[in-house]
Structure formats: C-alpha cells, structure tokens
Symmetry: C2
Subunit: 204 residues, 2 copies
C-alpha cells in the first residue's frame, strides 16, 4: 500500500505495478491479491489516500487564517484553492491517481475530502453574505476552475514559468465571478481603471 503510494508518487497511475509493489515489500505477486482485489482496487485505495492528504493540505493552508470576517473568509477561500494547485504541482503522480476515473464499486471515500473543505469555505462566504450566486450551485464552478488550473499547469500544458500569474488570474476570475465585490479601497491593484468602481449587481 505505502509501496504503491511511492510508485504512484513517482510514476502516476501508470507507474503503479502490482508486481513491483509486492516486490518492494518482499512478497510474491499473488500475495498482493490477499489485500487488494485487483490493480484497479489498489489504485482506488491509493487514490483515496491521496485525496485525503490533499484535503489535509487544504485545511492546513486555510486554518491559520483566523476570524469570521468576510475578509477572512475570502482569504481562506483563496488559500484553499492555492493549496489545491500547489499539491498538484508538487505531487503530480498522487494528484493524477486521486482524480482518476474509478468504477463505483471500487471507490473508497476520503476524509477530510477536498470537496468538503471547499464546501466549508463556501459556507463561510455564504454566511458572510459574500456569495453572488446561489449557494447550492457554488461548488462546481469554483472547483472546476481550480482543478483546471491544477491539471493544465501540472501537465505542463500551460507554461510552468507563468504559474504565479495563471494561479492569480484564475483565483481572481473565481472571486469576480462568484463573490460580491470587495469594498472600494481594498482592491489594491497596480493600475486601477479610470472608471468608477460601483458595487456589482448580484445574479440569481
């Protein structure tokens, strides 16, 4: 299991070989079948574990930001998303296995689940009255954006050296697309436009 996680960490799902994992723990290939129903089942367990460590990293990134202010909720939201992308870039193999398609009968739940961590952030934003869209449909677009950035950067399809700008632009898009605008003065960007900065019309 931990041997398989090592393999996944260095080679992704394609790098996970049942025989090699068995060899690493000094056991025959067939012995592995006493613990895992199949290679796919082994991958499902590695994936669940990977999602858990991702969930923990997200928690660890947002937990230090204390307070129940809207400002804090916003900051936690961003920190969580950033941690998600960081994990994908630091552990591409584990990240791939974490979100690999998995037949439902093999799927193993995870706790803390990345999705749940995101949900908590959105609950906090909702409590602070900062959601510009209905709470019910808020997870999907937020997750989708962060996941896309994680995947495209992680696979090198979007250039790694523009990482910081891309992450920032993505988080900005999520904030501007999902949340109510901040107070006038708190948006300290380099080149402010000449136009006035009125409040934004909420949707839905």
């Amino acid at each position: 299991m931990t041997a398989a996680t090592e393999l996944a960490g260095s080679g992704g799902s394609e790098g996970v070989a049942l025989r090699e994992a068995a060899r690493r723990v000094g056991v025959s290939p067939s012995a592995a079948y006493r613990h895992f129903p199949s290679r796919e089942g082994l991958l499902a367990q590695v994936g669940s574990q990977a999602r858990e460590t991702l969930g923990r990293r997200m928690l660890a990134a947002s937990a230090p930001i204390r307070g129940s202010s809207g400002r804090a909720a916003r900051a936690r939201f961003r920190a969580t998303g950033r941690a998600y992308i960081d994990f994908a870039l630091e552990e591409p193999g584990l990240f791939e296995v974490a979100f690999r398609p998995c037949p439902p009968e093999l799927y193993i739940p995870d706790d803390p689940s990345p999705f749940a961590v995101l949900s908590d952030d959105l609950d906090a934003l909702d409590r602070a009255g900062l959601l510009a869209i209905p709470r019910a449909g808020a997870e999907a677009p937020a997750w989708v954006a962060v996941h896309g950035a994680a995947v495209l950067l992680g696979e090198g399809i979007l250039p790694r050296d523009a990482r910081e700008a891309i992450v920032e632009a993505t988080l900005d898009m999520v904030s501007d697309g999902l949340l109510r605008p901040r107070a006038r003065d708190s948006r300290a960007r380099a080149s402010a436009s000449a136009r006035p900065a009125p409040a934004r019309r909420p949707r839905a």
Copy 2:
C-alpha cells in the same frame, strides 16, 4: 493510426496497445515500429489528431454565430466553451489522449488548435472592448475553467446529471469574472436581485 484512434476512443490512452492496433490492420507488431517510434509516439499522434478534431468542433460551434457585435462575440465565446465540454463528454477517451502529458520531443502540433480558437474568441471580445482584464493573461483563466469542467464532468467526479447546471454556472463565472457586464436589460435571469445593477469596475 486510425486503428489506434479507435482504441483510444473506446479505452483512452490505457486502451491503446501497439500490438492490438497492429493486429487490427492485419500486420505484425514489429511492423508498427516502421511508422511510430514507440507506443508513446503513437499516442502523441493520436493526441494531436484528437486536439485537431476538438478544434474543429469548437470552430463549428462558434462559426454559425455571425456578426461583429459584442453580443455575437460573447455568444461565440460561450458556444466555443460549450463545444469543448461537449467533446470531452462525447469522446472521453480521445479527450484524455488529447491532453495527456507528452514528452516535448514527441509532441506534434495541431491545427486548428483548441487554444488558437479560444484566442480568436478573446481577440474578438477584446476588439469589442468587453475584456475586463488585460488581454495578455486572458486565455489561461478561461481555458482553465472550461477544461476543469470538461475533466470533472467527463470522469464522473462531478455528477453527470447536473451537467447542464454545472456548464452554465461555469460559463457564467467565466463571463462575470473576465468580461465587462452586459447592458442592464440584457441579463435576463429568472430571479433578479433587488439591488441596482451598476456597471462593474474593471480591473488591471
């Protein structure tokens, strides 16, 4: 090649076996090495071709929307994104191969490239003065959101039966996060908020 594309279509990259592809065209396994440097090279060609058909679908979806108005540019932008997600859901195997990490020496360019199609849409939006962020950094967040939705829906991680709502929420987030707001009356949504609908402050 077309045999490999069939295999990719039904089994994704893991379903592509050099031997099986050779068998399907009635040829010995070693003969395949006269045409492809390796399995990875074969996958690179299949991937390039898959990206091309994706690019064509995006073009086909946006081309019927004529006109140079801002309204048309917005509509093309959305149609392009929708086509991207549709492709991922209709051809999950090809989509996976299209965006699989590929060693640079094996990478084969594609034309029309999905990225280029997106770029053209953004150029049109920029010409119409509808971009709320600098043109330079606009591709990444837009692509990221649509790609994330395609991946998470395609793999069944986000529920397929909520597909339409998720796609709509994602496209709304992209529009609201990247573009200037539409004129007051054109945002015909079911439950409009009580707040007024002022213009939105641009960023950057």
